[in-house]
Subunit: 419 residues, 2 copies
Amino acid sequence: MAERKRIVIVGAGFGGVALAKQFAKEDVDVTIIDRHNFHLFQPLLYQVSTAVLSEDEIAYPIRAFFRNNKNVEFFMAKAEGLDAERKVVLTDHGEVPYDYVILSAGATTNFFGMENVEKHSFGMKTLAEATHIRNHVLHMFERASKEMDDPEECKRMLTFVVVGGGATGIEESGALTELVDVQRKEFHHLDFDQVEVHLLEGMNTVLPMVSPRLQKHTIKVLEKKGVKVHLGAQVVDYDGKDITLKDGTKIPTRTVIWAAGIKAVPFVANCGGQLNRGGRIVVDEKLQVEGLKDVFAIGDCAYFQHGTERALPTVAPVATQQAKTAFKNVMKLVRGEKDLETFHYKDLGSMATIGRGEAVVNRTKINPEMTGFLAWCAWMMVHLIRLAGAHTNFTVAIKWVWNFMSGTRLGRIITNVKD
Amino acid sequence: MAERKRIVIVGAGFGGVALAKQFAKEDVDVTIIDRHNFHLFQPLLYQVSTAVLSEDEIAYPIRAFFRNNKNVEFFMAKAEGLDAERKVVLTDHGEVPYDYVILSAGATTNFFGMENVEKHSFGMKTLAEATHIRNHVLHMFERASKEMDDPEECKRMLTFVVVGGGATGIEESGALTELVDVQRKEFHHLDFDQVEVHLLEGMNTVLPMVSPRLQKHTIKVLEKKGVKVHLGAQVVDYDGKDITLKDGTKIPTRTVIWAAGIKAVPFVANCGGQLNRGGRIVVDEKLQVEGLKDVFAIGDCAYFQHGTERALPTVAPVATQQAKTAFKNVMKLVRGEKDLETFHYKDLGSMATIGRGEAVVNRTKINPEMTGFLAWCAWMMVHLIRLAGAHTNFTVAIKWVWNFMSGTRLGRIITNVKD
């Protein structure tokens, strides 16, 4: 009898969890490696950063997925590289041997080499970063309310800048203006005319993946909500006090939230495969890493360009669709079959929420374009269904309805005060 | 016309918030000072530390209480002392002038001068501490599951010690055994026979405020849940690896949770009044600080001993009852009246939960003693009603029911991993 094969999955994002769930049903041993003990629902990070949801509503313990799968083990460690010769994953807690490994390690914030910007602004890819933003933004209001002597500094504290006109930047800047409205009711002596929310986008439009009509609609709604939208605004520097654009414009601000780009996690550079310019590991049409045996890669950390005009977007549906193909192909190899499947991406459309009661939805089956309240309901449904954990669906739904009706946000607590 | 009087409240615990809500309806200006921007529901801290509830379910933004009270301001700062001559509260963000000040600054953990113990064990008085315990305990399981070479160290990681047989210690140790049961289902390769939860109490019984019958019942239930209860066990040292008792016993453990004593916050020592041995500021029967003009003190930071055999317990009902008297007396002074009211404590009984479906309730109106499921339901009701925020009552109730029925805890996320 052949030995049970050891399948190792690096990263418990959308792709990694989808993979492990499929392998869990097979006669193989599965180890899933992640530096966090939870799967993070990244599309709702902006709601944690703006005090709508609690941390544990978008973070689900990885082990809880596999409670009934004794063949799945979780290994909490930071993956550091691959030794494809010896067939082990290298981690900060030792080596994990594999017969087949799938890299689904995701992406991190890309500051495009601007060290100053990286040092002083907030990324928004991890739970800790989202909590950090919440604490900081709330703190700015508290500090400004006590800053009586220096109006310039007060204004700087009350100016919030979001960089990047993709879904994250749109959602974050929209949600910030709503947070401002909540704060307005409770700071009885603060002049809210000073508060500004800016959205900076280097290109000449927002949301590149939706139609021009929806792009215009999005900008109109954002501006109506009070967001100052700057198109063609390229950031060149930020020293923690003033953000500088290419044309020389300076905006004084204590808060820059960077949602302007991502790159593959550095880990994949230590795996031995070929990288593209964005640092993503190149895979063939079967999702195998070119040049390495028994190594697959999917999702944000993988670069796939076969039969598509441009690289696939770094979104969850790509990762989960690739998880299916990678799973099938690994199982073919386990069974000794040769005819691996080719991956084809099926675009399911895209959506972004601009705030309470407003969203844009592009290219769905039902309707090519949707905006407004209906689009927002569709957005809520899609995100609620995909959240992990039955009781979370419930508490999140309650919070959204509560938030919509009462206009309050009870998550506005500052948790990083030194005791 | 007389100028509006400035009332300053130091501390937004049960007493401070109760005070501010009463003054809010009067023709006075109120400033409430706290180093946190939230009111903390301390009785449920142990549920955050054991991954039942989220942080923001027991923390309520202070400003949200006073949304409709324009005469109430919040001042986020750490109070550092009082200058009773100049009538200002000294803080790390400047001075706050008052006409009348009420100290409701609460208590902090008392390690009774044992520096080693203080350095290596976890207090459980703040939200950050509760989150810290959750992260640490969950981390111990993850680390133990990877610790294959050193069985002694593995055992040490899986031994959890709670010190103090009061309500907090009982609740924490009971909740820990339940957390262990949840973990057991998800660590497929860890030997759970190694896991131990200890409760150490220096005296010869637990829960001094309830009847001997309830004390025995509590110990019996705890032991049935798997808690090893040690009575007459006095801690003398803890170096982060082994906790040492007075009789020389050592228990190897990486986790000591200290719930064995509290003392008044150091701030009150800088207020100029007389302190008792526990560092609490001495008040007269009108709740005025002896020797200081226009200064009142209530709750855990105040020492009141008039017409009672011993000092009042450090519990929320004392603080909220004292808040009523202090409010009335300050308003009498504002109006120029002289006949201040004398404070009388009305003991409403006490309760503690020992775990899912089990609690003890002492000296209630309805029934002098209750145990078991009914007592647990009573405990839940009392705590739900007192939680601030209507939607929190709802989500917490859902979580408790979910927790009871499914035996899972979805809050088990480790949030302090360095990225």
